[in-house]
């Protein structure tokens, strides 16, 4: 299921000659989607992703030298997104939850630079006990309601809530351990 993620079509509208953009509108057109997806992968909801993407482009386009190469523009947009995301976490939760690293070895518009969530989650789910994995799949990946999930799992709604709560706690513990 998640493996198919790589095949999501990306717009390839490139209006560039000799590796440079002709206008700021081309810069936007060519880069808006990957910038958005990079941010979405780190906030997990569209409302914040839209706000932050708008902030990146409103902040980035004005000082941009249009003579910069495509690669330079992309590095600049990623750097701007990093700054904007860090400010978002400071303002909302008072601490950094996720970040956009600046040691990206891959091009900013490549899948591996945009998001590692699919691989991360696949590895995580594999190691969880069955019922924990199932409830997280239903709730987070398939966006099913708690009621539907409970029915699917053959348990009460109250139990489904507890199960989801415990599953997320265990998953978070395993994630943290991986990082250390």
């Amino acid at each position: 299921m998640m493996a198919q993620h790589d095949r999501v079509p990306r717009p390839m509208l490139r209006v560039v000659s000799d590796g440079r953009y002709a206008t700021w509108a081309d810069v936007y057109q060519d880069n808006a989607t990957w910038v958005y997806r990079t941010i979405y992968a780190r906030v997990g909801n569209h409302a914040d992703a839209e706000d932050l993407t708008a902030e990146v482009f409103l902040a980035a386009l004005r000082p941009l030298r249009i003579s910069a190469t495509v690669a330079e523009v992309r590095a600049y947009l990623r750097a701007t997104a990093r700054t904007v995301l860090a400010a978002h976490w400071r303002e909302t939760l008072g601490r950094e939850i996720t970040s956009i690293d600046d040691s990206a070895l891959a091009a900013p518009d490549s899948e591996e630079a945009i998001s590692t969530a699919p691989q991360q989650v696949r590895g995580l789910l594999e190691r969880l006990p069955d019922n924990y994995r199932r409830v997280l799949q239903l709730r987070f990946l398939e966006s099913r309601s708690i009621k539907e999930s409970a029915a699917e799992l053959g348990i009460s709604v109250a139990n489904a809530k507890v199960l989801q709560h415990r599953a997320l706690r265990l998953a978070a513990q395993m994630n943290e351990k991986d990082e250390r």
Binding site: M2, Q4, H5, V8, A32, T33, Y36, R37, Y40, A41, R42, V43, G44, N45, H46, D48, A49, E50, A54, V56, L58, A59, A60, L61, R62, P63, L64, R65, V70, A71, E72, R74, A75, Y76, A79, T80, T83, V84, A87, E91, T92, L93, R95, I97, T98, S103, L105, A107, S115, P118, Q120, V121, L124, F140, L141, S143, L168, R169, A172, E176
Partner: protein, 233 residues
């Protein structure tokens, strides 16, 4: 501990609503991180909506077209202030990231970027930038070769080279000989001959100038010029 804040945050994520701020502890932050990963792993769930893209395009169009005529707003909203500071912060990293990208894009391994941003490309060629005789002790010799603009000088007999492009917005630096500093014509930033920031008037200090790899062979000074990144496909 803020169990309610966390529950609400997760619930908002699941319902596709904007999550509400609270102050999570370490473990709550870890759970949020995991919840975000889970949501972000949905197939195709991370695509921007067409409506949003079109709306932002028209906002940008308004910004870019009114650039010259719009005076600063009198009472900026909080969001506008944030945009302002982000712009400054973004601008501060723009030059250096573009600089670095040149070397990082195709090297295949992480360069040592600690503070001075020393460049360690592994694909490229040594190119002569001056004859040894041209670079006397204390002289600042400017060169331009391939994608690189820089200065080479001699310190205790050894050649040293740094980037000649401002780390703020990529303007070309000039050497102010009487002052002994590298100056940026764009925002009055100045650097020492070693690349450290000497003076600046920016909200955030720009990064030091990256050092370049340099060697002296057969009477000429050579700088390692990385292969320019081919255009990403």
């Amino acid at each position: 501990m803020n169990a309610r804040g966390l529950r609400r945050y997760i619930d908002d994520l699941l319902r596709g609503r904007r999550p509400r701020p609270f102050h999570p502890d370490d473990f709550e932050a870890a759970q949020i991180r995991t919840a975000i990963d889970l949501r972000a792993a949905r197939l195709g769930g991370d695509a921007p909506s067409e409506g949003f893209l079109a709306d932002l395009r028209s906002r940008l169009s308004a910004q870019m077209n009114n650039e010259a005529v719009t005076p600063p707003r009198m009472s900026p909203t909080r969001r506008q202030v944030i945009v302002g500071t982000s712009a400054a912060a973004a601008a501060a990293v723009a030059g250096v990231s573009a600089d670095r990208l040149l070397f990082r894009e195709h090297t295949g391994e992480s360069p040592t970027t600690a503070n001075s941003g020393e460049l360690v490309p592994n694909k490229g060629t040594w190119r002569a930038v001056a004859s040894s005789a041209d670079v006397a002790e204390g002289e600042m010799h400017q060169f331009e070769v391939g994608p690189l603009i820089g200065f080479v000088r001699r310190v205790d007999g050894r050649a040293e080279a740094i980037s000649g492009v401002c780390t703020h917005q990529g303007c070309r630096l000039w050497f102010d000989k009487p002052d002994g500093s590298l100056r940026c014509p764009c925002h009055t930033t100045s650097f020492t001959p070693t690349g450290q920031v000497l003076t600046h008037q920016l909200p955030i200090a720009p990064r030091p100038l990256p050092r370049l790899e340099v060697r002296e062979v057969d009477g000429s000074i050579e700088v390692f010029v990385p292969t320019p990144p081919s255009q990403p496909s």
